[in-house]
Symmetry: C2
Subunit: 242 residues, 2 copies
DNA sequence: CGCCAAACTTGACCCAGATCAAAGAAGCCA
DNA sequence: TGGCTTCTTTGATCTGGGTCAAGTTTGGCG
């Protein structure tokens, strides 16, 4: 991890202040974090961590998108997580990195040296509590993804992926889902995320376009023209059961 | 969750005392847990939780094997976790069950009412710390499984599954891996775990048998006769990189 | 002991998605 | 502006694993 060290933003003004691992901290606790944190910047495409290397830092994503990936000997790869602002990288008590972490866009990380952070975790229950929540949320997401990888068809996988983008986009913007959005990943990266090949991704995106479900303005940007249909295709539990 | 309530075992004599969510607790903290815990028993095949029902309890598995499953509308199912003694069920802060939890063998649970447990989590950092570890371990396991589901062939999946059984079995027994073991699941359950069909599981188990890698004495019990080959087939990172 | 249901095996066939191949876009920098 | 490279689309073909369909083994129980 040899990225430029940036001037730190004050925690109180941090964009992820209310969602990251520090979100429960009071002013005094923030002051302690402020002491040990270091901002680092990565360019799109940079490798943040290599699998197997010693993990001296843990970090929160401040801005940008990164991916967690695993690779088989022969080169097959599977993305096992998409890291967005406020997501946490690393795990206390482990000294080696388990996954390749790659910056998809330019990324800024808020890094803490692992050992001081571990001591802090013992001394500061609020951080530990928040970390439990974050870990359990990710576990739920990972399990949803296991259902997708193990049982969904290519068409369902792609519809689920797009629907996920819609939902995430809606969280940031207001109540009404914003239906104009951009793919954060290339076809190949989407394929790695969904357990498919890039050709299959391309074919099914084209199909959804010609069916009038999606409308692409260029290869990245598109509008969901039939959200109802998209949800039906995704194969998820209909929302009636709540 | 309407299972018989059993006489509680004293925490200090509990078989999972040193591994479960309570493992870091001191004597005083154990005394508090002792107050609010209730043992419950389930028979093989019983449903412990149904997806979507209110979750009033969280629990640790004391003995037996249970599975976490998700289901698509049309009946396709995917197992997303295998729960073994000391594993934790439920998550603080969530009121609804996210997965079907099914007892595969007879199962004994150590249950805590959710709300008292959540208060305890805030008041007792040692429990929260242990819960972070458990959650992060499960997250790592879930991510390994995502690689398996997304990218491995049927043959590799089955070899990986058997190898996992060998490793787990070795933890319980001594240093030398005990190579005589029993499948804890039916062919259909294995298929649900691996994202395959029961026919494919059966075919590949037969193949491994006829290749001399496994030797079945009946449909459950077998001996790994060529561990080397099994590991090679599983397609995992060769262990040289440590 | 013998019946029955559940679990398992094996075969024949088919299809979704992988693989192989070859053209288009779209940036991007000189 | 033109020539790179990188990303994407589309087509043709192949195949691993799914599906359908018999059988076979096993174990539980009256």
């Amino acid at each position: 991890m040899n990225a430029p060290v940036l001037a730190n933003v004050k925690c109180s003004e941090c964009p992820i202040r209310h969602r990251a691992v520090c979100s429960r901290c009071d002013t005094d606790e923030l002051a302690v974090l402020e002491q040990i944190k270091i901002y680092r910047n990565f360019k799109a495409g940079d490798q943040v961590f290599w699998r197997g290397e010693p993990m001296d830092y843990v970090a929160s994503i401040v801005s940008g998108v990164a991916t967690l990936g695993k690779t088989l000997e022969d080169g097959r790869t599977q993305m096992v997580g998409l890291l967005l602002p406020s997501d946490f990288i690393g795990r206390p008590g482990r000294t080696k990195v388990e996954f390749d972490v790659t910056a998809v866009t330019d990324v800024t990380l808020c890094c803490f040296e692992r050992q001081p952070f571990e001591r802090l975790l013992v001394a500061t229950p609020r951080i530990a509590q928040r970390l439990v929540e974050i870990a359990l949320d990710e576990l739920d997401a990972a399990r949803d993804w296991m259902l997708l990888l193990g049982r969904k068809t290519a068409r369902e996988k792609i519809a689920t992926f797009i629907d996920m983008l819609v939902q995430r986009n809606s969280v940031d913007h207001g109540i009404t889902p914003a239906l104009a959005l951009a793919l954060p990943l290339t076809r190949e990266e989407i394929a790695n995320y969904l357990g498919l090949t890039l050709e299959t991704v391309s074919r099914h995106l084209s199909a959804l376009k010609s069916e009038g479900v999606l409308n692409f303005s260029d290869r990245r940007n598109f509008v969901v023209t039939d959200l109802e249909a998209l949800r039906a295709i995704s194969g998820d539990e209909s929302d009636d059961c709540l």
